[in-house]
């Protein structure tokens, strides 16, 4: 993999830069690591969860639009008895990550010749569009963020509540703005209730890629 041809740009979708900083320091990454406190990328790229990824070629064209960055939905295969995910689900999740990573490597090396890079037609066909409510939610999120930064937490909370209602598919909005556990992770009762209410919907939409489990 030649570094001059390929760049990983990793972006923390974190309102609070200090919440994200320890993770970066722990990983001490060699790639570019940015922080997006206002969730601008959610608005620009119609992102609704993390990790999500976009492949952008040398000319700035999107060759794989926003999709899960190799994570698959195994949330509802959590087994309370073992206090973790079922082994079969874990294996499937690991296999998905490995498949995705191999595809990224293939594209990093082969560029447009990689079978994982979409042509324009396929790239458009895989692009998910947002509705007016989602676009509004992004504007309101920016407002909530500003109010929060100016010590107007009560007003910010009301605005964030509106954001969650306007864009219920956004886990970025939901998890950023709802209660965190002591660990800083938004995986409390509210989160699990929302997961369980997904029904047919997936927490991570499956990635259309050869070899994905």
């Amino acid at each position: 993999m030649q570094e001059q041809d390929f760049q990983i740009v990793s972006v923390a979708m974190d309102s609070d830069i200090e919440a994200a900083r320890p993770w970066v320091e722990e990983a001490s990454p060699t790639y570019i690591t940015l922080v997006d406190q206002n969730h601008l990328l959610s608005s620009l790229y119609n992102m609704v969860n993390v990790p999500q990824a976009v492949w952008i070629d040398e000319s700035g064209k999107i060759v794989r639009p926003t999709e899960s960055g190799g994570s698959i939905d195994i949330l509802r295969e959590f087994d309370p008895e073992i206090g973790g995910f079922k082994p079969e689900a874990q294996q499937r999740a690991q296999a998905a990550k490995a498949t995705y990573l191999e595809a990224v490597k293939d594209w990093a090396i082969n560029g447009s010749a990689s079978r994982f890079a979409f042509d324009a037609q396929a790239s458009r066909a895989h692009t998910e569009t947002m509705d007016d409510n989602a676009a509004e939610a992004h504007a309101w999120f920016r407002l909530g963020q500003h109010l929060m930064n100016h010590n107007r937490q009560e007003e910010a909370d009301a605005v964030f509540q509106l954001c969650r209602e306007k864009h219920p598919d956004s886990w970025n909005i939901f998890r950023q703005t709802t209660e965190k556990m002591d660990t800083g992770i938004a995986a409390g009762e509210g989160f699990w209730n929302k997961v369980m209410a997904l029904g047919e919907k997936e927490y991570y939409k499956s990635v259309d890629m050869d070899g994905m489990p």
Partner: protein, 134 residues
């Protein structure tokens, strides 16, 4: 006075009766929309002002950017006391941009506060990938 936020900028303008008022000259410099005889113009694109609603948009030498923004079909998010407003982007614009396949540019800081833009990485393939602490 109200603080107005866009994706890329922040500025102050006068607030009255739910409108956000500024001079046409300021509007041109802050939002890149110019007031011309044919309407509000950005480059070659002009949006006419409905003649029967002109007072909603223009008053003396002031322009109501909030009314204009909504006239474009774009969301305006405003605090209850109307002292902060966000001029957002519409779903149509976001979707059209994504379907053009031209990766939307952005400028964000790294953890040392240094700014980086997507366009800094032209001539490289970029894996843009998100994560979060939460």
């Amino acid at each position: 006075m109200a603080t107005v936020l866009t994706n890329t900028s922040q500025f102050e303008c006068d607030e009255s009766e739910g409108g956000l008022w500024m001079s046409a000259q300021e509007m041109a410099s802050q939002l890149d929309w110019e007031l011309k005889p044919e309407g509000f113009c950005q480059g070659d694109t002009c949006v006419p002002v409905p003649p029967d609603r002109i007072h909603e948009f223009i008053r003396d030498d002031q322009v109501n950017v909030s009314a204009f923004w909504q006239h474009l079909g774009r969301p305006v998010a405003s605090s209850t006391s109307s002292d902060v407003a966000v001029l957002g982007e519409s779903a149509t614009e976001r979707n059209d941009a994504l379907l053009s396949l031209e990766a939307p540019d952005f400028t964000l800081p790294d953890f040392n506060g240094k700014l980086h833009s997507l366009t800094d990485f032209r001539r490289q393939r970029v894996l843009l990938i998100t994560w979060a602490s939460w």
